[in-house]
Symmetry: C3
Subunit: 251 residues, 3 copies
């Protein structure tokens, strides 16, 4: 760090086993990726190519190589998995994971209806090929899943082989874990935490107030995702009590 400040909370460093930051890249240029690595490479543990932006992005292999050279693995957003499933192209999906040299994949059912047993089978199958993140929660704001079901799904998906489970929020942060207004469904999160080990969960929390809420609840090294590239540095300061929002919390 650039200077010494006493009594800061302890932040993990790479390679992390907790305190992950997952960044959503929805179309950064190669130069922007280089810049992101320069400013924030030490604070980014994994990058998601948002939903199916990887389909239209023109220099995908170069981008994956850039991130990899900085020790940052990438994965395709869950919507892409669903796009292949909805077209009965799962085998093609498995092939492109290899073709692009990806070591992680997301399994989700945010936009399609899928029997939960089938979802767990996909997790189990993919877990033999890559490290699997599985996502719980709908992208449909009207579709409220009760807490006990979140827990049930998270448990069975972890048993099926998921490395971590993701709590859904989208880029906007107004579905899944959150209400329309972006407010956290606090009861839901607290109930989940009574049953699922915190380190197995990656909370999507794109809005600052959401990040602050999780950090106050779970501490500096909570796993957070869907962070915008230019919010990684700000998030680091929130994690260690160096932004107004958590300043008093960590004193």
């Amino acid at each position: 760090m650039n200077y010494n400040l006493n009594n800061l909370p302890e932040r993990t460093s790479k390679p992390r086993t907790e305190g992950y930051t997952m960044v959503m890249d929805k179309g950064l240029s190669l130069r922007e990726v280089e810049d992101l690595i320069e400013t924030s490479g030490n604070y980014i543990d994994i990058v998601k190519f948002g939903w199916a932006t990887s389909y239209v992005y023109p220099k995908l292999k170069e981008k994956i190589a850039l991130y990899k050279s900085a020790g940052i693995p990438c994965y395709f957003g869950g919507t892409l998995f669903e796009a292949f499933i909805a077209r009965d192209q799962f085998a093609d999906y498995q092939k492109i994971l290899d073709e692009f040299g990806l070591e992680y994949a997301e399994v989700s059912d945010g936009s399609i209806e899928m029997d939960h047993d089938i979802k767990c089978e996909y997790i189990s199958t993919l877990a033999k090929q890559v490290t699997v993140l599985s996502e719980v929660g709908s992208k449909d704001a009207a579709k409220i899943i009760p807490p006990y079901k979140w827990i049930q799904q998270m448990e069975t998906e972890l048993e099926a082989g998921a490395w971590k489970v993701i709590g859904e929020a989208r880029e906007s942060g107004n579905v899944g874990l959150f209400r329309d207004s972006g407010e956290v469904r606090q009861g839901l999160v607290e109930e989940i935490l009574t049953q699922i080990p915190e380190e197995k969960i990656l909370w999507e929390a794109p809005q600052k107030a959401q990040q602050v809420w999780f950090i106050k609840l779970c501490g500096t090294n909570v796993n957070l995702g869907n962070i915008a590239p230019n919010e990684v540095i700000p998030l680091e300061t929130i994690r260690i009590g160096l932004r107004g929002d958590t300043f008093s919390h960590f004193l």
Copy 2:
């Protein structure tokens, strides 16, 4: 594209006759323009220099040349036209179009009061010099133009020589076609579409929900404008049903 997905809606490619994406540049650096071309050049049909940002931007000729080299024409926002008109400097305006080698110009009356016949005369005059986009709708949220007047104005402006008519929304997307809240004035749009050919209209739709709404109504290849540079890739995925918002719509 980076991999094969079956049964996607057909997206036009450049040079397009429908499915235009107009991007608003409100001060990108030359390097950012290079990056935008790299990631999104194939998806951008035309660029608007928002309102009169071209007045204060320091490397305007270099920027225009950069876009041109990528096959992307540029034009000055309508507010600049109005700034010249309000100062009785129309002749100067015509000169700078030539000086900067522009092949498109916008005629609007969003910030000034102008007799509609006069507006049509400007369209007609400029149409001899460049390709004219004319804009309908006020930048004043309090000034509601009824649907029949939108239609009347669009019709006469097209007759006067406008290549396309633009539905006003501003950078923020909360006037003209939209309510204060950003919600689409649905009845207005639907009534317009009963009278004006869809391919003659460019809908300003800066917010994601607005883009989704128009794509669901008019299809993949609707003309959309005021797209932020970093939203071009996301917009492409929405157009072809590869983002949650239109995923089911195109299955």
Copy 3:
């Protein structure tokens, strides 16, 4: 400027004595700083490294040097000052100002409780070392300071040696000078202006509507701060009546 428009309001140029634009940098890469200087260097008078982002930013000295080479001084956000004070490390704070060659510093009490006499002592002490900006207003939305106290504090802080006083708004623009909704506390601002010379105040105004409001009240060359890097060019157009929002105001 790129072309001639008659009867525009007169905008000051660098080095300015009024009409300052203070930009908030919360983690720009070196290349982004170069780009910002290219597009907006003439419009930026001073840069603040938001809150304590300078702690985690990896190339701080290079960045300060870049800005300096463009004639733009930098300073650390007030929250960093408070982080040192809260840890009883004021001497360390003074040392790092020298170590990084900074000529400006901010004194604030937005996140901590501090006796106002003590605050003024810090201002007085630091004013012997650097040029001091002092900030009035809390980061806590619930903590409303009445106008007479704002005035009292601003007066005594200027007497203590502050070069200018800053009206608090945060990055988001929803505390201090503004209501939760972002709306200006108009009565507060107007009352302040009856007692404190306008040129001694730097108004934080991150939202466009806030910038427009201050420009309409105080004119083209009002001092504004917490401007996002990509909003500097747009702000210049608002200052001179070349964006819809102030178009009629300056005609």
